[in-house]
Symmetry: D2
Subunit: 409 residues, 4 copies
């Protein structure tokens, strides 16, 4: 049986429905969706794609099914869902997901439409699988949906290890083989078997370390915010809709941004890594609750107001409100003394990590290099921040540096 | 001092002229030139770029300079050359290099023009370095040019290890740290110190194993040939010149291919991995010498003749003549008993590897799936191949398979 | 310059005083002291030694000195201390350290005697270094002693990574290169530079995960307790003293245990991995404070009393009281907003990890397989444990299994 | 199902007869037999044991059986043989194997006696397996014996990867997962499937690189020769027989050598790494054929004659004749164009590697540091070597160095 060589899991044997799905355009498109979007501007090796990640998730799902003794059509359905779980991703993965959702109401795991009306749907039906049920698994529905999308899903196991491998950051190294082997079902819930409180904690800790180092590293956040902003302008300035963008790949989006007048400046900044800098980088306690709760419209209005105060172009101010910390793994369930218990009730680390996340929360206000002082001062006033907050001192020191932004906290 | 995190060499400290060069557009552009071009269609994890490779080459050059005790402006010049050595690469790296050379006379290491008239040249001059001398080092000139481009250059050391890391193929694993430490100069030549015949052999063997498994794997060759062909058609059909293409990145090229009528079919095939298949896959001894020596025009003429015989469109036939085997490392020099000797005189492996390469040499004729039989028969006649050669039997078995092409020989 | 090849740090260049120390008997003896003692009975690949660890610590110290800009005799002294820091270890490293300390008053880092009167002392004096000051560094004294023995010492950085490499447990993977580069001195204290709260946390978390998985895994604890017990009997039954044992290597100790009547039964059990099992495995809250505070004499008395109640030989009962949790890293200092702060004041994880450690604390009572029920019941009475505690249910299930003890929590 | 954590293959699930065999004393003894004997004196991390290697071989055998579709009692027999294949190893593995063979007529894979009359035999019979047939598989007999001992056996696949992992030398990195998956049977012979000439070559090349770098590195050869010599003296001086030694572990042997007057000097030299040095290191062409063909008696006589000429004690001269090069993998069979062919007929590398081995062949004469000149001169005369051969120049330069012997060629 032929296999695909993966830099993380070595040889992956792709069989059955998965082998047929592999050749469909929606799956092949994932080759051109970068797994971590603009994180590659911080970690130059992080060029991996949703395609290899999807193969990895398929592989781990297959191992988990094997370990759980699930076979037949139910297993095929899970394998299909694992391979397909990311076909709903827009270009640059999560970077423009919020925008797409605002415009279309769809998140990346709302894939019913994509599965039913495409070559994927054809393959699934040929193999006796109902596309809607596969889409349901991807959304976390059904008993086995938990394997693909849940607190203990194989999606997370793959991305932690893979993102660590490609960024070079060692923190995502979990014992995925143990995790997969220790999964079991208790009253219909996917849980970890006896003796695995610490295994569950390790998953939580890996995410807790990868988050600020990789996923929400400040330069990654700035470039992501800039890309989102540019994509908004693209939709405003052209006939393209969020539904179009959702089906594009990274090449389509970058190419469109380059060729559209309203966004070509961003494209140049992206290409040359001439990114905005932090005018404000404020801690949780220094930001009024109303600002922490900003939705899109309010952030947009605040940006205009700050720009006016600072006398810069509106497009030159970005207000980036981090989401309130959440921690999905905290509700993972583990068997302890023959009883199913929530990890947060078993592990004192859960609430501590939640608190640690809150401490790392930051409000960012970004602008071009030469406007930091003005924009910072304007933002402090407009957003009623604690006066000491901005402009952040590090920023000044970093004016000339690209390097400090590679992988530094 | 800030560092950049690399998945191969861990933290890379970038200082001096290199730190300033890093921010220039020609260097940042390398982030969007894939290191192995279409090899990613065979090894899905092989999405690494010339940018991370260039950082790695800079890092190894820095280590080698340190070990050799070279300092000051000469060292800075070599470090600059190491970081810049690939700025002349066209999109998809080597894939369209032949075409660019035919049209412009320039190879990827002819970078004088690129260095002199660009932000790079400004930085170099500011730092007291002459862009032309840096370009000379990249072309392998001068005493220290051998470190950047020669039989024992750090370029090869980095790419073998990096390509192995990202493809998952273990064969490129050399002891680069040892290689770098054992370099020395003898009569102006960069050689390996006493006791390193085997170290030199290991470099040769690593390439000998990576070549057929990765660099000239048949699906990689097919997709590369298709990309080259499509780019030729793009130049014919549009105003763009090879000089333009040379400065593009992967996004520019793929986007242009998609948007141009004459090449949109290729773009679809590339995006959906609906590649041509082998109609002929003939060994060295089965191919007349005149065919093995085909240049561009003759291959082009042969394609047309085959297409006519087979009654298919000319664009549906590709004749892909592999270069005659060469083996640059064979002239590496090693000190043996206080004498500088050529590796090929010391190691019986060199001539054996040359012979092994010849055995692996193949002439490929590619076409769409459904024309294999016709095109194969036509090619056998037109090229006067040994009748048993084509259409190759494996091809038939593989008609429905994508998988067999992942990493299989 | 010649180098030593290490499986963790690749080539290690050993120079200066370190190169001369390498050949001395006390350093060569470390080749025969296993790094993790009886942990190899749980993780079969964990056969690494104090010698390779000492080389690793030397290497990281050298990198840290370089990054801190420390040179000359002070740097040589630190490098010597790094290479020598473990010469005071008894056979099987920490396994019999408590016993040695009880009898000699010396811990493994009390090495003044070993350094002054040995070939090591000669080398140090020849190189102009005072053995007593080197011993002082090893004990954590002086400004630079913190590098070798302190909250942020390179000892811990090496052993976490090395133990992870050799056991196969991924949790010890820290970013040691970053740690070494971010060290700095503030008011004479070794601290982490600005922006490294999370780097400090990662060190803490790595230890928190390695502890229960590797260092205090239950089978590791049982075999360690058995070895300690056997060594006590060896000292009672022979003329050898703790001072003798302290200078032995693993071969000496195992050989003595085999050849002495009083300990040959243990030696057989060790060789055949016929270990005692858990009769009691009680949580912190279920154990009276007086028992948790047991020193050697009280534990010894309790063992005799339990054996009498259970009608087994005294040698067949081991009471193993885990130390109260401590967490050295919690007092690590990190610069935050230009101020030196303690990690425990900055990170909510510290107190949570302390609480997590308390939850994982266990009192063990061990005995031969066939006496579990009797010894368990006797121990519950004698130690006034909560009645539900013992005999632990898992134990029963595991009677026939060796396998469940490999790496399971 | 419980698993054992391995640093090379991660989790290894041990089931069926293997799980029962694991607990037997002959298998547990392998924990105390070092895989590479005295190679640890060159590569300090190479402390791995026959136990972890045996688990690895079991694991690869299990994967190969799975891929080949072999099940039931035949598969159990192979799995048992894989786990047991090294129980016949003497202490320090191959180091004293020649001596044991001379005295007992047994090689390490002659294990019928060990299997029939031991706890192993009991377990096998309980599980319905005939110990003699299992011993036959270990000796390479039967159709499936080729999996355990043959040109393409899983033994070699494990040791190459494992020795590379533990020494840090990257050359052993083969694609073992591919090798295992591509095995197939053709007319009763275990061969590699179509398209694997290069896979077979890679195995050959990995050994060709590991040999001089690790297995026959000169310091490894010297220490091995010294250990063999000391063990001969031990047998002469005591009641112990080669049959006793064969069942010992490393601890028994080193302890006996230390406690026996006739060998305590060696033990001290081993412990302090005060090894003999090369007085002669002669190439193939410089050594008369009669000397290259020396058996034990002739080497022994030559040593005495050299010692007499050089006026040193007989025990201070060791003549170490390397075996004639052989290359087992050369007869590996691979399917090419549906035909089974020998690798040596397909690959020009085979004969080149044979020639390369011959060039690396060396005759060594070793003695204490201070007798190099006298012994070298005496050996040249006595053995009628080419006069230029000895004493080798490098040796003189290395008199004070330990370091140059770590991993240098």
């Amino acid at each position: 049986m032929p296999t695909i060589k993966d830099s993380v899991h070595d040889h992956i044997a792709v069989e059955g429905v998965a082998a047929k799905l592999l050749d469909t355009p929606p799956v092949q498109r994932l080759r051109r969706i970068s797994q971590l979007g603009t994180v590659k501007l911080v970690y130059p090796s992080a060029n991996h794609t949703r395609f290899e990640h999807s193969l990895g998730v398929y592989h781990l799902a297959d191992r988990a099914l094997d370990s759980l003794g699930i076979e037949g059509v139910e297993a095929e359905r899970v394998r299909a869902a694992a391979l397909l779980h990311d076909v709903g991703h827009a270009p640059f993965s999560h970077n423009v997901e919020g925008l797409i959702h605002r415009e279309t109401g769809l998140y990346h795991d709302d894939v019913t439409g994509l599965l039913v009306d495409s070559a994927v749907g054809e393959v699934l039906r040929e193999e006796g699988l109902d596309p809607e049920r596969v889409a349901g698994l991807i959304a976390g529905e059904d008993r086995y949906g938990q394997l693909v999308s849940g607190e203990l899903d194989v999606d997370r196991m793959d991305y932690l290890v893979r993102d660590a491998h490609h960024t070079g950051v060692p923190y995502g190294t979990i014992d995925h083989e143990r995790l997969v082997r220790e999964l079991t079902f208790a009253d219909g819930d996917l849980v970890l078997a006896e003796g695995n409180v610490q295994t569950a904690e390790s998953l939580l800790l890996a995410r807790a370390l990868m988050n600020p180092t990789v996923y929400t590293q400040h330069t990654a956040r700035i470039s992501k915010a800039m890309l989102r902003r540019a994509t908004e302008r693209l939709l405003d300035a052209t006939e393209w809709t969020a539904h179009d963008v959702r089906r594009w790949d990274d090449y389509d989006l970058l190419s469109a941004l380059r060729r559209t007048d309203a966004t070509s400046e961003f494209a140049r900044r992206y290409d040359e890594r001439a990114l905005f800098k932090r005018a404000v980088w404020a801690e949780y306690g220094d930001v009024p609750a109303r600002v922490r709760g900003f939705g899109f419209e309010k952030a947009d209005a605040a940006e205009r107001a700050i720009a006016e105060r600072a006398e810069v172009r509106p497009r030159d101010v970005i207000v980036d409100v981090e989401r309130e910390p959440r921690m999905r793994e905290s509700t993972s369930e583990v068997i302890v003394n023959d009883e199913v218990r929530r990890l947060e009730d078993e592990s004192p680390l859960v609430s501590a990590l939640r608190e640690a996340q809150r401490r790392r929360w930051r409000l960012g206000v970004y602008c071009p290099d030469d406007a930091i002082d003005r924009v910072g001062a304007a933002a402090v006033e407009e957003l009623e921040l604690d006066a000491e907050t901005a402009p952040v001192s590090e920023v000044k020191e970093n004016v000339h540096a690209t390097l400090d932004e590679f992988g530094a906290e």
